[in-house]
Symmetry: C2
Subunit: 302 residues, 2 copies
């Protein structure tokens, strides 16, 4: 999309992502073994969606925030996996016939398409539940564990992610403006990015100013991310993006390109990313990966 990255800057995030993804995948796999009480079909449905090729953006945000706050990355794997599970549950439920009714996700059939509706609902429920179990049992410091549970629950709850999805559905086919659209995406996408950063900071014992700056960074990043998502749907094709494109328009969804045009959408995304990066100045070199990640969001093509 928009190319504002030097090769060096691209390298920081992509190198980090490449380094950490195998361990994220290994842990997501291990965390969804479950014991004999879990029916095989349910386990298969959970893994179908969770282990499908994904960007793992939220886990990487957790890890990068821990690093930015000078913490030990080994404490960050549990929240990194937990947030990916919550993200995946939200995709499974959003894709259901009663909601967005999508049949393609991450390049594969959606959970209800590959299995059935009941199994997809239960797979989402199980992933959400497992996320909190992992936070509470795998974070050694119980204070950090409890704070991460609060941060994740807030980000994923009725006032944020779930509320944003409800308003997004209600807004379909309704007139709207940029303020309304931003309010939806701040909750539907932004809150979970902020939650990722907060959990990364919590396990690193980050201070109040650091958490505040990371939240401001996450707000800009989230909105830019969503604008780019809208642009990809508007311009993209299903093969690159890994899910159906052009659906937003078909469904009468509010989108940035529809409201302000493609060029203005790009300008806004670019400006938001600049502002987000400014928040990272006090982290100095330790914020490099977050800087590079923000720039990556602008140029991603899926």
């Amino acid at each position: 999309m928009i190319q504002i990255m030097s090769d060096r800057e691209t390298g920081a995030f992509e190198q980090f992502a490449q380094d950490v993804r195998p361990e994220i995948e290994r842990r997501l796999t291990a965390y969804t073994q479950f014991d004999a009480g879990c029916p095989e079909r349910l386990r298969a449905a959970i893994r179908h969606s969770l282990l499908a090729p994904g960007k793992r953006l939220r886990p990487i945000l957790v890890l990068a925030a821990t690093r930015a706050c000078g913490g030990d990355i080994s404490a960050a794997w549990a929240p990194a996996c937990a947030i990916e599970m919550v993200h995946t549950y939200s995709l499974i439920h959003d894709d259901l016939p009663a909601m967005d009714d999508d049949d393609l996700r991450r390049g594969l059939p959606t959970c209800h398409a590959a299995f059935d509706e009941a199994t997809a609902i239960l797979a989402g429920d199980a992933l959400l539940t497992r996320a909190f179990e992992i936070l509470a049992s795998e974070i050694a410091n119980p204070q950090h564990a409890a704070r991460c549970c609060v941060a994740l629950a807030h980000a994923a709850g009725a006032s944020q992610m779930v509320g944003g999805q409800a308003d997004d559905l209600a807004a379909e086919g309704q007139p709207g403006d940029v303020a309304k659209l931003e309010a939806i995406h701040r909750r539907k996408t932004g809150a979970m990015l902020i939650g990722s950063l907060q959990m990364g900071a919590i396990v690193a014992d980050g201070n109040g100013e650091q958490i505040e700056r990371l939240a401001a960074y996450g707000t800009g990043l989230g909105l830019a991310f969503q604008i780019v998502d809208d642009l990809l749907d508007f311009e993209g094709n299903a093969q690159t993006v890994g899910k159906r494109t052009g659906k937003d328009k078909d469904r009468g969804k509010l989108t940035f390109p529809a409201l302000v045009g493609v060029d203005e959408s790009r300008r806004r995304a670019s400006h938001l990313i600049e502002q987000a990066i400014e928040q990272l100045a006090p982290f100095e070199d330790r914020g490099d990966i977050l800087v590079s990640l923000a720039q990556f969001v602008l140029k991603r093509n899926r």
Copy 2:
């Protein structure tokens, strides 16, 4: 149903339930205010299901377990409310058209019947999420908070409640025996009763033996509870029970009366309750409410 209770014994549980229910209702109401980010329709759907007249059996189990372990009941309100939220979320999702397709619950239209399917899915999701937020933010001791999150997540997760529901759906119209039926209910109903008792013991700093005995009590109680539920569906009428009756048979569900007959079902429930009560001996007087509650399960008519 079966009358084996003296008036004195009936009194202990019913008096306790009457004493604590107003505070449970007050807190459930307060915990689902949500801030302005929560869409009004979503909030209404959550409250429609959560605040409908319910027995509040699980919250009362939490409180009674805290008391049995000699703990301060003020620490038990948060897990009491959290387990009721998870129970309610499970009812909302189980009632969906893709699952049990029920239109009546607790004497009111089910969530998707009163609102719509998407709102019902999201209301369930929000309740599950809020439950963990309450445990993590309202239990002052972070170690207790984390342990309660683990206990609740285990009880509600893929190997227990969600797995039991998946197997229950898969068993419809299939041949089955008592062992299969018990395996389903141990996970679908029993695990959440055990989880209630465990959380009550955790916030009371109960010891290992106490937790083990409460779990054994909960196992018997859960199975007896389910046998009575089957009997109520088999014999009952919708007005008393508050949900459609006779549906199990229509749907080809495995039930105890269908497998072993009404009399043998009653005998089993009675025997399970006796065994459950035996586990409570070391708690002496402090276990009175749990003894009385177990006896109440046998004679409940809704």
